[in-house]
Symmetry: C2
C-alpha cells in the first residue's frame, strides 16, 4: 500500500472530495446537513455556538521529515478542539480545507484524513464540510471547529477575579523537548543519512509533540463537579504567554510558583540531556494543549483530588505585576519568554 502512488489528477476535484468523504458517518444529532452541499446545516437549538479556526503551514508549523501525515491529521483536529474546550464548550463539527502541491499522492492524502477521522471519532466530532485545492508549494491545512455550550456557560480569558486560584491541567514542556530531539535527529540524518535515529526512551516527549490530546476530560470533570472556571485559555504558546494573556485581558496580576508547575519525570530527564531547565520548557515551550484556568478559592475542595489538575498560583491586582516565585524563593517579573532571571544566565 505504501508503495502505491495514485496521482490526485486522476480523480479530479469532485472525485477527490467524494473519495475523502465517502466514509463519513455523522455522530451528532445537531449535524443536519454535512459534506456535499454549498454549506453544512447545524441545529444548536437552545445552545450557543462556539467557533474557532487555525491554519497550519508546512515549514512553519510542522516538518514532514519527522511528522507522519496521519499524526498531522490527528493533531490538526486536536489543536482546534483544544480551543473549543478552552471556552468550556463541547466541539461538535469541523470543516477542513487543504491545499497541497502535486508532490502529494492520493495515498498521502488518505493517510492525513485517516488521522483526521481518528481524532473526530475519538472526540465525537463530525466533518461537515471543507475545500480541497492545490498549492504552489507545500501542505497547508485550515480547520474551523464548531462547538456548543449551554447559554452563558462559556468561559472567556478576560473574566478572572483577584484572589482566584490559577490552575493548569496535565504537565507542561514535554512537546517542546520532543521537538528538540526530532530537530537534532533530523540534523544528524541530513549530515549522515546512514545513521539511524536515536530516540530510544523518548517516546513520552515525542508523543506529546506528534500526537497531542485535547482535554475533553477536564471539561467533563467541570460539568460533573459543577465547576465554572472564572477564566480559561489553552496552553499552545507556553505557560508564560498564556498567563500573560489572562492577566492582560482580565486586568489583573498574578503570582506563579515555579515549584508548582507540573512537569513529567520523562520530560525532566530529557531536558537535562539538552542541558536546559525543565521550567524554561514549561514556561516558553508551547504546544502542550493543556488548559490554564482560574477558579474562586471557594471551589478548591472540588478539584483538590483530581491528579490531572495543579494549582500553580493565584491572581492579584494588576499593580502587583505578573510574577514568578522561583524554587530558590526569589521573585521575578514573568515575560512571554519566561522570566528575566533566565535570560541573564
Amino acid at each position: 500500500m505504501a508503495d502505491e502512488r495514485t496521482e490526485i489528477a486522476s480523480l479530479g476535484e469532485f472525485g477527490l472530495i467524494d473519495h475523502v468523504t465517502k466514509n463519513i458517518e455523522l455522530q451528532n444529532a445537531s449535524s443536519i446537513v454535512g459534506v456535499g452541499d454549498d454549506a453544512a446545516v447545524i441545529d444548536h437549538f437552545g445552545k450557543q455556538t462556539v467557533v474557532t479556526t487555525d491554519m497550519l503551514v508546512e515549514g512553519v508549523h510542522f516538518d514532514l521529515m519527522y511528522t507522519p501525515l496521519k499524526h498531522l491529521g490527528y493533531k490538526s483536529v486536536v489543536v482546534n478542539l483544544s480551543d473549543i474546550y478552552a471556552m468550556n464548550a463541547t466541539p461538535t463539527q469541523i470543516v477542513i480545507s487543504l491545499a497541497f502541491s502535486n508532490r502529494f499522492s492520493l495515498e498521502a492524502i488518505d493517510e492525513f484524513y485517516e488521522g483526521v477521522y481518528t481524532a473526530c471519532e475519538k472526540y465525537g466530532v463530525d466533518v461537515v464540510g471543507g475545500d480541497t485545492t492545490s498549492s504552489q508549494k507545500g501542505f497547508i491545512i485550515s480547520i474551523t471547529a464548531i462547538g456548543e455550550v449551554a447559554p452563558d456557560k462559556y468561559v472567556k480569558r478576560s473574566t478572572a477575579k483577584k484572589g482566584d486560584l490559577l490552575c493548569v491541567s496535565g504537565d507542561l514542556g514535554a512537546a517542546y523537548v520532543g521537538l528538540l530531539f526530532l530537530e537534532r535527529e533530523k540534523k544528524i540524518f541530513i549530515e549522515s543519512p546512514g545513521v539511524q535515529p536515536d530516540l530510544e526512551g523518548e517516546s513520552y516527549v515525542i508523543g506529546r509533540l506528534l500526537k497531542p490530546e485535547a482535554r475533553k476530560d477536564i471539561i467533563e470533570f467541570f460539568a460533573q463537579k459543577e465547576i465554572l472556571p472564572t477564566s480559561m485559555i489553552d496552553v499552545s504558546d507556553g505557560l508564560s504567554s498564556e498567563i500573560l494573556h489572562i492577566c492582560k485581558q482580565s486586568d489583573l496580576g498574578c503570582v506563579l510558583y515555579e515549584e508548582k508547575i507540573p512537569v513529567a519525570e520523562d520530560m525532566k530527564k530529557a531536558a537535562f540531556k539538552f542541558e536546559i531547565d525543565p521550567t524554561a520548557c514549561a514556561l516558553s515551550g508551547g504546544e502542550d494543549y493543556e488548559l490554564l484556568f482560574t477558579i474562586p478559592q471557594s471551589e478548591y475542595e472540588k478539584l483538590v483530588l483530581n491528579e490531572e489538575i495543579s494549582v500553580i498560583g493565584y491572581m492579584t491586582e494588576a499593580e502587583s505585576g505578573v510574577t514568578i516565585i522561583t524554587k530558590g524563593g526569589s521573585k521575578h517579573p514573568l515575560t512571554a519568554q519566561g522570566w528575566n532571571h533566565m535570560k541573564q544566565n
Copy 2:
C-alpha cells in the same frame, strides 16, 4: 501611504492581530464573543446554523499581478457568503485565516483587510475570529462563513422535483471573459513592459471578475414573496457544472434552453473580441456567483416580474438525461465542459 512599508515582524503575531482587528464593531446581536479569545461564541437560539469554508491560494485562484489586494479581500468574503445564500440562509459571521510570506508588508495586509471589512459591512457580517501566520511562499486565504436559517427553511441541492422550473439569477459568463482580458494584458505586459493595458470599455466583465457580489437580494426576494426553492446552488464553476450537481444529487434530468441563458450585452461583445461563443462562457466559465435554483411550476407567477431572475429550463426524470436545446433547435447532452457539439467544432 502606498510608498510606506512596515515590516510585519516589527509588530509580532499578537501585535498584527490587534492591528487588523482593532476597528471591528460587531453588527449582529448573535455575535456574543468575537475576536480575542480561544473561540467566538454565537447565539443562534431558535435558528439553525449554516457553515461553509473556502480556501484561496495565490497562483491557483488569483494572480496578484492584476488583482488589487483590497478587491481580493472583498472577493474572498463574497465567495463564502454566496455559499451561505445558496442554502437560503443569511450570513452572520466569518472567521478568516491568512498565511503570507515576508514579501507582504503591513500596508499590503491592511489593504486586504480593508476589502474584507468593506464586504462584511455591506453584507452585515461580523469577523469573529481568525488566525494569521507566515507561509513559505505566496498568499493563502481560508475563510469560514457562518449563517442562520429558520428551522427547515434551508435549501439543499438534492431536493429538486421532476417538472420544477430551473432558474438562475443575474447574467453569466462575464467573469470568465474578464479573466481572458486580464490574462491577455498580463502577457503583453510581460513581453513589453512599456505598453499600457488596453481595457477600455471592458469594465463590466473585469468588474464581474475582480469584485463579484453575492445575491443577498435574491434571498430577500424569496423571503418577501414566500418562495421556497426546491433546490439551490451557487454558480461558481460554470452553469453546466452546477446543473449537473443538482441533477445528480436530485436524481433527475433536465432540459436547458440555450436561448434562455442570461448573458449581458457587454459580455457578448467582449466574447466576440476573443472569437468565443458567449454561451460557452456562461456554461463553463465560472466565478459568476449567481444562484441557480428550482421552483415548482405553481410558483412561476411569483417571480415572473423579477428581471434579475431567468427561467432557463425544467427538470425531467433522470432517464431523459441532462440536455441542452440549442438556439438552432438541436438537442445535446450537457457535460461539465459545455456540450459535446461545442467540442467538435
